[in-house]
Symmetry: C2
Subunit: 677 residues, 2 copies
Amino acid sequence: MARATTARTATARATATTRPARARAGARPSPGELKRTVVIEDVQPCVDGGRWPVKRVVGDVLEVTADIFKEGHDVLVAFLKHRRADDGEWRETPMRLVDNDRWAGSFLLEDNARYRYTIEALLDPFQSWLADLVKRVDAGQDVASELLEGLALVRAAARRARGEDAAALREYAARIAEAPGEAAAVSAAREAGLAALMRRHLDRREATWAEPELEVVVDRERARFAAWYEFFPRSGVAGRHGTFEDAEAQLERAAAMGFDVVYLPPIHPIGRSHRKGRNNTLTAGPGDPGSPWAIGGPEGGHDAVHPELGTLADFERFVARAHDLGLEVALDFAIQCSPDHPYVREHPEWFFHRPDGTIKYAENPPKKYQDIYPVNFYGDDPWPLWLEMKRVVEFWVDRGVRTFRVDNPHTKPVRFWAWLIREVQARRPDVIFLSEAFTRPKMMKILAKVGFTQSYTYFTWRNEKTEIQQYLEEITTPPVAEYFRGNLWPNTPDILHETLQRGGPPAFKMRLALAATASSLYGIYSGYELCENVPVREGAEEYLDSEKYELKARDWGAPGNLVGYVTRINAIRRAHPALHHSRNLTFHRAEDPFILWYSKATEAGDDVVFVAVNLDVTATRACLVDVPLAALGLPPDRPYGMHEQLSDTTWEWRGPRGYVELDPRRDPVQIFVLRRP
Amino acid sequence: MARATTARTATARATATTRPARARAGARPSPGELKRTVVIEDVQPCVDGGRWPVKRVVGDVLEVTADIFKEGHDVLVAFLKHRRADDGEWRETPMRLVDNDRWAGSFLLEDNARYRYTIEALLDPFQSWLADLVKRVDAGQDVASELLEGLALVRAAARRARGEDAAALREYAARIAEAPGEAAAVSAAREAGLAALMRRHLDRREATWAEPELEVVVDRERARFAAWYEFFPRSGVAGRHGTFEDAEAQLERAAAMGFDVVYLPPIHPIGRSHRKGRNNTLTAGPGDPGSPWAIGGPEGGHDAVHPELGTLADFERFVARAHDLGLEVALDFAIQCSPDHPYVREHPEWFFHRPDGTIKYAENPPKKYQDIYPVNFYGDDPWPLWLEMKRVVEFWVDRGVRTFRVDNPHTKPVRFWAWLIREVQARRPDVIFLSEAFTRPKMMKILAKVGFTQSYTYFTWRNEKTEIQQYLEEITTPPVAEYFRGNLWPNTPDILHETLQRGGPPAFKMRLALAATASSLYGIYSGYELCENVPVREGAEEYLDSEKYELKARDWGAPGNLVGYVTRINAIRRAHPALHHSRNLTFHRAEDPFILWYSKATEAGDDVVFVAVNLDVTATRACLVDVPLAALGLPPDRPYGMHEQLSDTTWEWRGPRGYVELDPRRDPVQIFVLRRP
């Protein structure tokens, strides 16, 4: 597992090696081809045999392992090769034999780019010869003939080398050839300097290259570590439609709470035809703003700004203001149109038609969604539609947007996303795509495999100890963690889970702190910090008076608000590098069936955070919990400190078990930072 | 898991579908390509992402599963496609949705050939339309427009169809179009006959094909089920070198004992230079026959017969005689030469040379093997050597040999074997190759992956309960069992394990019955049935007076021989189809740490064999053993019979536990056939 590290241990060195061309089918194989006999198998990391890239972030060291072997007993040498996918030059780092034909190597992922990697392995004739020579000498055998063989190897290397190395190799050859006796010649042949020179000037012509080449998408760090905050920029001002300028206050609030990304529902003109009213009613009143997901009106479509929010220039100022506050603006990308969208006139062929020629609105029979026209990816020629979608994304990229939350990607062709994301990232590798698919598991996963940087998850619906642990383990360990980055949301404008409806503030604290510590990526939809928990009706997950259909002005300082709690949790996250990762999540045993107990540590072990979560928000729970002393390098008999962050209290623990007690009315979650003795 | 079955449930149907051509890189994608949007992932069985073929035998039904899904809610249809690799026509069988986007299908492997298989999946527009139509009708909606859409689908299908089907589709279209009302039209649209016609005439142009295509090597049944018997044809006649004619007596013995394959060490002329004497001494006496693995003399090389054995015609008569006895002759293929081999003169470039031009003998420094010249696969051009090796194999294939036991394949390039086996089997798919590699695990496995039909195993060195169980489970379950067929040998001319040296006849019975029942493939080297157990020296695994270096005439009727036991075990194997497989091996709990307890069942469950093995050959062991009643479909409360085959005694058991008692002096192994109540 590769994690970010500042140690630049793996230094890549440019070499002139190029991959040998492959023979044409049916042609007489070349001698060189027949001699490329090293077996290179099971190169890891690798998603589905190399079908899809693995994911990492800038600064990670990619650890690569493989089975590398060959017939017989010759000494092998192997190099991990890598290059940026947009650049032809292979760089290489040496690999080392670990055990049982398994080799390992690594390289630093320096750039926000797509890399390719593979392995080049070959026989090392000099080392093979030297190993045999030593055995013969140790057995007292005559080695005159063997020395001549070695000499030939050194001279051949001298011919391949240039400059100083060539001279040094010629010098070694001369010393071996002119040695006063076999012992002196053997001694020269065994010098480390010669071995290094010979390793540097291997004849690579018969090297074997692993196939297929594998890919790693190297994202910027925000792809792995970020706290998201979703809000409707139109809300926030009592009595009228808010503008981008008004929404700067919300940016300030988000920044003050310690969020990294603010995500806005669609900011485009909203359709009027069949506009939905409050609480998703079929008829809108004259003042109803409509759902921002009904995209497109006379004022424009996906590349326009809703006039009541302001102008495109206002949006650009808003993005700049966010940037000044250390925030990034994420836009919603929802491929669907209101009946008033310009595409309906300009590209009727991008929609579904009835036999009478009219355009079909969305349906899930017998349900009808007349305010939305779904886009048809199966028209006579989908290519112009694909290009237009790419143009829309790049339009916003060109206006400073680097993150897109993609609405319902599982309702559009998977291969379209594969193409779109690759195309956009080829030009702008810093663009992040979050998949908003809440659907069957294999669709969730393939969307991540084909390119989505992050993914919404089933977290919201995992509320019991075993199911939380199993699910988080699944998404934070390989194979899933190689391509899937879960972004955990305790709520969204569409999802107010029963746990929050019933559990009140303790549940809001618990689910927030759980999401924020178990995952390096999490987010909340605004109103969470006010513990808004009234559903539209009993048994529903939608909010009453949903902000999707009306303007909302909230009193952020209302009594009982969690602003301080959220701010503290985000501060703890930022302060602790262990919480910047998800693949380091490790669950430990807690005896109580309602207490979750897990830890995260940096690779170097210099930051270790333990978290205890009381899932029962109705009662104080307490139990013994395990501490993996050996894994942490803690002595069994000396006390260590556990500094609880929310209460700022340090407990002294000793031995492999500790005790936690969690009163949900006070702190349903405790976050301990280990203080080594 | 596919096992042989006589039920021809999966009938393949020829269709005219052809795989769509792939677009050139960089070209504007065709509309059809953009619409090939079905996701087909994780097609199983599959070795290493499709790098290597899976293995089956003729008559097996290949069960194929895959994740198949698409965006949205449309109805999908999927076909399992297969064709012989040497034949361009795809055949197909329908697949069915199992659960959670996992689909399954199967086809019968009718021929001893290499097949390719893949999956074609597409949207089923008619079924999708029909499902929506039914929902609308049930909700009382008007469906006039929808009926027109369905009519268009039926008419398009009618245009694709020919003959009767076209007429029938036109008839349905007319009935829908001219129906007296919506209800009648809907009723016609819902008829099963129309659905079947529509399924038969899908528009396949936008279907998605899974990539990569996968391969299955379908061997003849002997590849999976055979008892092997190894003997030296030169032995057997007291006082002189035996001939092929003499060796017919040994064929008769092998046939009488119930073996299927007789394997002969190399039958070629034996070198004289540095010939090894008795017990592997460096100097041969004048009468010493030498090791048959020192191949080649003045009389010829790999395509010649050792004159003392007879002529090529004698060999062909021997093969024919074996065939008459129901036996198959397996030859040894050892790529190495004595200094007297014709290749040394004719192709000195196929050997390793010292700087003075002399040819190198084999060495493992400081050890020297002067009677053997290793072959050099890294000369200036290895291609003529590769072709010659293929010629040698095909020379013997043309003389009736269909099975080769390949000596030390792990000392020649893996890719050479991949090529050789594929080439030979392309012409003669019935040729079987057994890999005699006793080396590191990954080399053992890659040799099986690249083509070896069967493999020697570590069985000989697995003697304790846990290690036997773990090892046999590893090689008889996926992923290993998809490509690796273990052939278990209790002894070979090189390996007399300590267990046999110390355990005497009980150990010989135990290891034989264990190998013969746990694996559908096993073999012994002659002398085993006489319990020959004297090593060349304490601590060694080689035999004293090894037959590799001298002629041996044995008294096959000597007191204490196991001929009857071996015969009985082979008869039980043949009589019970459950023992013709290895992938059905299942271990169950036995309370005694020295008792192994396992079962095998046919897929239909009509033959179930349980085996109890006492690994402690010094003491009687007894314990309770588990019987998986539910898995066997046995009622918990009724008695069932356990018919022990060696003692011909039937025990009545009841409930999920039985009792076994094994006296190694009598029967260290008991073989029970289940008799259902």
